[in-house]
Symmetry: C2
Subunit: 330 residues, 2 copies
Amino acid sequence: MNFVVFSGGVGGAKFAEGMARSVGADALTVIVNTADDLELYGLRISPDLDTVMYTLADVANAETGWGLTGDTFRNFEMLGQYGIEPWFRLGDKDLATHIIRTNMLRSGATLTEVSRALCARLGIRSRVLPMSDEPVRTVVETDEGLLTFQEYFVKKHCEPVVRGLIYEGIDEAHASADVLRAIETADTIIIAPSNPYLSIAPILSLPGVRDALLNAAAPIIAISPIIGGQALKGPAAKIMTELGKVPSAVTVAEKYSDFINGFVLDQKDTELQLDVITMGLGPLVTDTIMITPDDRARLACEVVNYADQLRPDKMGGCKLDDVPKLSPTT
Amino acid sequence: MNFVVFSGGVGGAKFAEGMARSVGADALTVIVNTADDLELYGLRISPDLDTVMYTLADVANAETGWGLTGDTFRNFEMLGQYGIEPWFRLGDKDLATHIIRTNMLRSGATLTEVSRALCARLGIRSRVLPMSDEPVRTVVETDEGLLTFQEYFVKKHCEPVVRGLIYEGIDEAHASADVLRAIETADTIIIAPSNPYLSIAPILSLPGVRDALLNAAAPIIAISPIIGGQALKGPAAKIMTELGKVPSAVTVAEKYSDFINGFVLDQKDTELQLDVITMGLGPLVTDTIMITPDDRARLACEVVNYADQLRPDKMGGCKLDDVPKLSPTT
């Protein structure tokens, strides 16, 4: 069985981790947004790849939503002494990831190869695939002018009003061969509850990805990151409003409607069920909020079983009792 | 007044720090060996430059002889988790120096410019000049084959028998314009008690440096790093023996004899005085061992006064009572 999850950062990473336990790590491929990537002090940083990788390895910092648990910031303090403007914090241990990535890329490795090597060292058995080996960078058009994604997200705390989003380099970039093959050979494809505009849209906008999804044999299911008109984390609802959309799970379903076969609504949005059914999607309505590792596994298991109902040949679903437990992150 | 000190790592750095307090930081230029430099994980490391810089900024780790005092090694531990062979330790704070240096060099700055920027941020008023902006790398010919300097020094703990030394790139490299100007305009030039073969020889071997010294108006004084046939620190005496030389201060004096006007012998080597006088050098015999910051200042002050006697026009020497104290490094 091949399960493919499209993911951004925290929400997608949590869901992917639940999937890894529910279907077995070996059966999982995570396709990760890289349009948030940045170069900082000459180091190549891939925030979403790292969040997915650290979460799968159970070393992610759950409190901050980025970096490694229990990391320290001595290097960052010293950079400050050297006069580096302290807007993007990198932990001392986290920095090892960026140093190795940068060094491997400079030596000619692809980002896909780098991710494979890093994951192997962290004991991750799932495949974590960057969406592309070529640079795509989200630029946010705001009332304060053009901002790189991290300037908007980290430096400006998502405060500027968003007028539009540009995925710089997207037309020259390609989905990696591994990504296209994963979609093609998938038995189930799931769009994690990640930001549709900042995390999923760059992946979908890569030449070849939307066609691959339209041609995919697997059922494709999207999980709404919008619950009761709000995003659990991040600026998704705010951006939707600023772009003139209704911040609602229905808007998310519409955005994916040309290629999805199923949609997962949070139980708080039960009243939206009919709208989704009208779009030809019989939604799964459930608790989609992932606070504990158990929540992740339960949601993943339910989505796997839901997907199984969407295909003619049942593949044998997920039994929650059989899913290994993960100790709650401290 | 312009004082110029030629320096390698620890011993030279300590002497330079004593000089900075004795003659005033603004009056000091330190010309530093860069033939020990290395690239590690894509980062450019300049051990001697850093030791001099950290010592002048009073943040050097006195216990280890490298890195910053009170540094931590979280990054290094994480690199280990990624499978990096742990032979060259870089502290978390120390890493900031290498990250900034690497980034500035990649952006087209010279090593001289990088050093100026780093020193400015650390509040260092002396000029710390890399001997060259071009790469020179010491390769050690040993009974175990060719080793890079850091392989020999750090990985192999100086254990292999040295058969010869190659300063790779030396013929294509140039002393920087700042270095040549510093020598030309110096009032006093001092060769610090650094390793003559590993630290001072690369500087002297750079095209132009020996001529500049021969043409210099300033008295040139060398301080012996060999005391009682031993080096206080490092493999100088061992290397001298392995290269077929007598490990003695006299051998050091001979190595520099074509351009020095004065020589500083440790009091333990009083019996070598006559040999040095025979070479036409009336040596200063004193306690050259620098344990405390006060030792550094005393030695520096004595050498400054000794230099003053070697020129026709006295320049006003150093009064030890006027030298500011540095609290003993903890």
